[in-house]
């Protein structure tokens, strides 16, 4: 308490500039007077009395300093003094200051930009209270190589009552529903969730309420929670929206609540996070299949909140025990060979898992750029030493302590770095809207990226850390001057400057090595991207457009006008017939969402039960199974290899047929003829209440492999079925021809809605766009790393230019003497260039070693190119050497053109 009081008073003295000096002067005068009087009394002569009094007092100046130190805070006072001095130094050499600050602004600005992305994604993936308690529960059947097979309702109930979790909720991964009743039928994205979903996330509604967590309605509870966005868009932010009826897929629901603005649902894509509305359901009654233990709800996700204080590992232990006891209890539902397991994944992992590697790569790349900028500025600081050597030597000669000198030099470099950091942050802040447009939309939490206080703190912390680390070394080197020699032979190369010159060369070699690493990374990414772009996708996206519509799926199937494939076929055939009459259309086909090449978010994968091989659903491998109309293959240019494609005569009442791709043939019928083989696919994921065992499906044809799932992956097994045999609620209309992109969407909407006015038509895009979008994250990382590499190369070039110029400057006397003695000018040129080449060779050697490590680490991000790709490594090395030579050429020319007479006279 007393300490604090003392500190506050001293601080206020410092701030107000109040000095106790006058008071001390008076007190000293008073002291002298008293002492003199006493001395007089003791019988001294007046001059002797005064002399003795002064002697007794001691050194007045020392007293004053002590007194002053007590009165204010010398540390801060010195700091302010140093700052003032540093500012003056910066202003005195504006060119140097500008380059240094600009370099740091570049490094710190770029780092901060990437950090703001990472801050929103990797560091804060879950905007919910106590996010570390949230987990995703994933069921696997490792015995049959199936992952994420989904959970059944009885299993979910077991989990709920297991005591491991505070609560566990089932949720869909997002689907579509038609909102009718407004001017234009709308397709909205929704999630069906168990009523305790929001209780698991611990987020409450801003208006009204969320679902009652204990609601036990087996099917839909006919309550709907709106997102803030939908509420504002469609309901004009009406505060009386609660209780209002909305018609979704022809069923009537009542609004019970509106989620707060900024609430983002969990999930890994923007689509999943930007849900329009939530429907509460028990997943156990109509329209869901009966809650049997073996009827797993695929495409459903289970998330849960762990009991407080329970670690994931501990919870996993409890869960394993539960799984073992369930297996014993229900041996028929959990056959031993499937090896059913349940694992817990931190929910944060599932949100950012897909882009983690890319972001880490970017952060690493930008970190290298930052390092290079720091090295560059350190280099500049060292270069300035030679100019300030005399000043520092004089200060030391006058008795300045080494620590005091270092402190002052450090203050200067810190000021430089901090100004750079602030400038970088300011530029970033001003350009944030422009920069955000560069970020691909598929990045999770795109909307959460913001330039916040935390980001500012990060920028300042990085600047301060960099300033300390990279300012300390030059400061130490500078303060270790050899006084006599510096003062005596200022202007010529001195012993101290050799140490500095070594330091500079080390710095330049580091810089070159770091930029080589970055360039190799960029080169490899560029080649991967190039290869991916040039890859034969196996389908022809040229002049193809996809437009989506959505058929309603009412909860009571008897109300569904498109309940059977036959009923749906009438509509689809008519849509196709009318589409073909539209201007420019050559071909038309329909398919479900999975049939949209590269555009689907979550492919429907069904268990494949091969006749005579698998006997039970939950033992089967899963396979991607698009549903398409017969024209689909020709429209996309996917060739038939063997057998036939299903045709107009394959309808609901005729035997079920399917076409597989070569990958499926290779995988599931190796060395056999798949034609005529029979398979069964499990109940549709939509969970229509169709309990009858699906009939056998015969494979009638094999088509060529097409990269419709991912451009990077050639052989994903697929089985195609006819939309006329197996209906689909999601319908993509594919059109090929000379299409008028601006008009076609409206034309298709008109045609579709003249058939059924309740159908929404949305999301028209060309397949070329879809293909390009599917590469957006790769393109983004490639572009960013390439940008960073270019920056690094530029900085390294500047660094080597500066160092060679410096060397030439130091040696100009030597060069002049050589020239005067008759050295050939070309030899001088060669000598300097050799210097540059030596640095480049050192940098390249170190850099190649580093690049090998880095490329090995980023192997997962590459496609079609080896991490040790020789042409990339060689090309990058050549570029780097070329830049180094070019950067040394200018000072080399200067050295060559040196006039020996003027130079020697000037010395």
């Amino acid at each position: 308490m007393r300490l604090l009081r003392r500190f506050v008073i001293r601080l206020s003295n410092l701030a107000t500039g109040q000095s106790a000096d006058q008071r001390l002067q008076d007190e000293i005068a008073e002291y002298l007077a008293f002492q003199t009087e006493e001395n007089l009394r003791a019988g001294m002569s007046p001059p002797e009395a005064r002399r003795q009094a002064a002697l007794k007092l001691g050194a007045a100046q020392a007293i004053r300093e002590h007194h002053h130190a007590e009165h204010s805070i010398p540390l801060i006072e010195n700091l302010l003094f140093d700052l003032r001095y540093a500012l003056r130094m910066l202003l005195r050499s504006p060119g140097f200051s500008f380059i240094a600050i600009a370099t740091m602004a570049l490094g710190i600005g770029a780092t901060t930009a990437i950090y703001s992305v990472i801050n929103a994604t990797l560091l804060h993936p879950l905007p919910y209270p106590n996010p570390s308690e949230l987990v995703r529960i994933v069921d696997d059947l490792p015995g049959v190589g199936a992952q994420g097979v989904g959970i059944s309702v009885p299993e979910w109930r077991d989990l709920e009552s297991s005591g491991i979790f505070q609560s566990a909720a089932i949720t869909g991964t997002g689907a579509n529903v038609n909102l009718t009743g407004s001017a234009q039928p709308l397709r909205l994205s929704f999630k069906q969730v168990t009523p305790n979903y929001f209780a698991v996330l611990r987020v409450d509604a801003q208006l009204g309420r969320t679902f009652h967590a204990n609601d036990a309605t087996p099917g839909y509870n006919l309550e709907v929670v709106l997102s803030d966005g939908l509420w504002r868009r469609e309901f004009a932010a009406d505060p009386h929206v609660l209780g209002k009826a909305v018609r979704l897929d022809n069923d009537v629901y009542h609004v019970v609540g509106v989620m707060p603005r900024g609430f983002r649902d969990q999930g890994s894509t923007s689509d999943e996070q930007n849900v329009d509305l939530w429907l509460g359901a028990g997943f156990a009654g109509v329209p869901f299949p009966p809650p049997l233990r073996d009827s797993r709800l695929r495409s459903r996700v289970v998330i849960a909140r762990l009991k407080p204080g329970l670690s994931i590992a501990a919870a996993q232990g409890h869960l394993d025990a539960l799984v073992e006891s369930l297996k014993k209890q229900y041996p028929a539902d959990y056959p031993a060979q499937t090896a059913w397991t349940v694992r817990l994944v931190p929910l944060s992992e599932t949100v950012v898992g897909s882009v983690r590697q890319t972001l880490i790569l970017l952060f690493g790349a930008v970190g290298l750029v930052l390092l290079i900028s720091c090295v560059n500025v350190a280099n500049l600081l060292l270069a300035r030493t030679s100019l300030r050597g005399r000043e520092i030597a004089v200060r030391q000669a006058l008795g300045a302590q080494r620590t005091r000198l270092i402190r002052q030099l450090l203050t200067e470099s810190l000021l430089l770095f901090l100004l750079g950091g602030i400038a970088g942050f300011a530029i970033l802040f001003c350009a944030r809207h422009f920069l955000l447009q560069l970020v691909p939309e598929s990045l999770p939490h795109l909307n959460n990226i913001s330039i916040s206080w935390g980001v500012l703190a990060f920028a300042l912390a990085v600047s301060a850390a960099a300033g300390t680390v990279f300012g300390l070394a030059p400061a130490c080197l500078m303060s270790r001057l050899d006084l006599t020699s510096t003062l005596r032979q200022e202007g010529r190369s001195s012993a101290g400057s050799i140490g500095r010159s070594h330091a500079r060369q080390v710095l330049v070699v580091t810089e070159l090595a770091l930029s080589l690493v970055l360039m190799v990374a960029a080169g490899l990414l560029l080649r991967s991207f190039w290869d991916l772009f040039a890859v034969q996708p196996g389908f022809n996206p040229d002049r193809v457009m996809a437009i989506e519509t959505w058929l309603p799926g009412p909860n009571d199937p008897t109300l569904d006008p498109y309940q059977t494939a036959t009923q749906e076929a009438v509509l689809l055939r008519e849509i196709l017939r009318r589409s073909q009459t539209l201007p420019g259309v050559d071909e038309a086909a329909v398919g479900d969402e999975t049939a949209l090449p590269l555009g689907h978010k979550d492919p429907s994968r069904l268990p494949l039960i091969r006749e005579g091989i698998e006997t039970m659903d939950n033992q089967a491998p899963v396979i991607e199974s698009p549903i398409v109309s017969p024209e689909y293959f020709h429209l996309l240019g996917i060739a038939l290899e063997r057998g036939r494609i299903f045709n107009e005569q394959d309808i609901e009442t005729t035997p079920q047929v399917a076409v597989i791709n070569q990958a499926a043939a290779r995988t599931y019928w190796p060395n056999q003829d798949p034609l005529g083989k029979r398979v069964r696919l499990h109940l549709d994921t939509r969970g229509l209440p169709n309990t009858a065992q699906p009939a056998w499906t015969t494979i009638v044809g094999v088509i060529a492999d097409a990269r419709t799932e991912s451009l990077a992956d050639a052989g994903i097994p697929q089985i195609y079925r006819s939309v006329y045999q197996r209906g689909s609620k999601e319908v993509s209309i594919f059109l090929r021809g000379q299409l008028d992109i601006s008009a076609i969407s409206a034309q298709v909407r008109q045609q579709v809605q003249s058939l059924d006015a309740t159908l929404p038509v949305f999301h028209a895009e060309t397949l070329d766009e879809v293909v390009s979008t599917s590469l957006s994250v790769r393109r983004f990382s490639m572009e960013m790393v390439a940008l960073f590499a270019a920056t690094a190369l530029l900085l390294a070039g500047l660094g080597i230019y500066g160092t060679i110029s410096y060397v030439v400057n130091e040696q100009r006397r030597e060069i002049a003497i050589r020239l005067a003695l008759g050295a050939q000018r070309e030899n001088i040129l060669k000598m300097v260039l050799r210097r540059g080449l030596g640095l480049a060779a050192g940098g390249a050697g170190l850099g190649l070693a580093g690049a090998l490590i880095v490329s090995h680490l980023m192997a997962g991000l590459l496609f079609g190119v080896s991490p040790y790709d020789l042409p990339t490594f060689a090309g990058v090395t050549i570029v780097l050497t070329g830049v180094a030579l070019a950067a040394s050429y200018v000072p080399a020319l200067r050295a060559m053109r040196l006039d020996p007479i003027t130079t020697l006279h000037a010395e």
């Binding site: 007393r2 009081r5 003392r6 008073i9 001293r10 106790a20 008071r23 001390l24 008076d26 007190e27 000293i28 008073e30 002291y31 007077a33 008293f34 002492q35 009087e37 006493e38 007794k56 007092l57 001691g58 050194a59 020392a62 007293i63 002590h66 007194h67 130190a69 007590e70 009165h71």
Partner: protein
């Protein structure tokens, strides 16, 4: 001539407080003189330490100071003990006595006492 030892670090504050407590308000020279007298001229008070110490005690609130007139009508700055200073003096006296007692016990100790 043997140098007079300076006041032990940390004890000067206690001496100043005690002096002010016993003798009432005093000016800087008076405090120094009194401490030297009380010590039987065995101690020398270093002015370079005394004035900063007085300032520190004032910042801490243990003493207060104001200009006044000395006994022979000379202008001087007088320091006096505040209530907080009195409290501090009591606490430090207690501490010091305790320390002294402990040290005294160590001086008195003999080998047979511990066997």
């Amino acid at each position: 001539m043997k140098e007079k030892p300076d006041v032990l670090q940390g004890t000067l504050a206690l001496m100043v407080l005690k002096t002010l407590d016993v003798l009432g308000p005093l000016h800087g020279w008076g405090i120094a003189r009194r401490i030297e007298q009380i010590s039987g001229d065995l101690l020398a008070v270093n002015q370079g330490t005394l004035y900063p110490l007085l300032l520190k005690l004032e910042h801490e609130g243990s003493v207060a100071s104001e200009w006044g007139a000395s006994e022979n009508n000379r202008r001087a700055r007088f320091y006096r003990l505040t209530a907080a200073g009195r409290k501090q003096l009591r606490a430090e006296t207690r501490d010091w006595e305790q320390t002294a007692a402990i040290i005294a016990r160590f001086f008195k100790v003999k080998a047979e006492d511990l066997s």
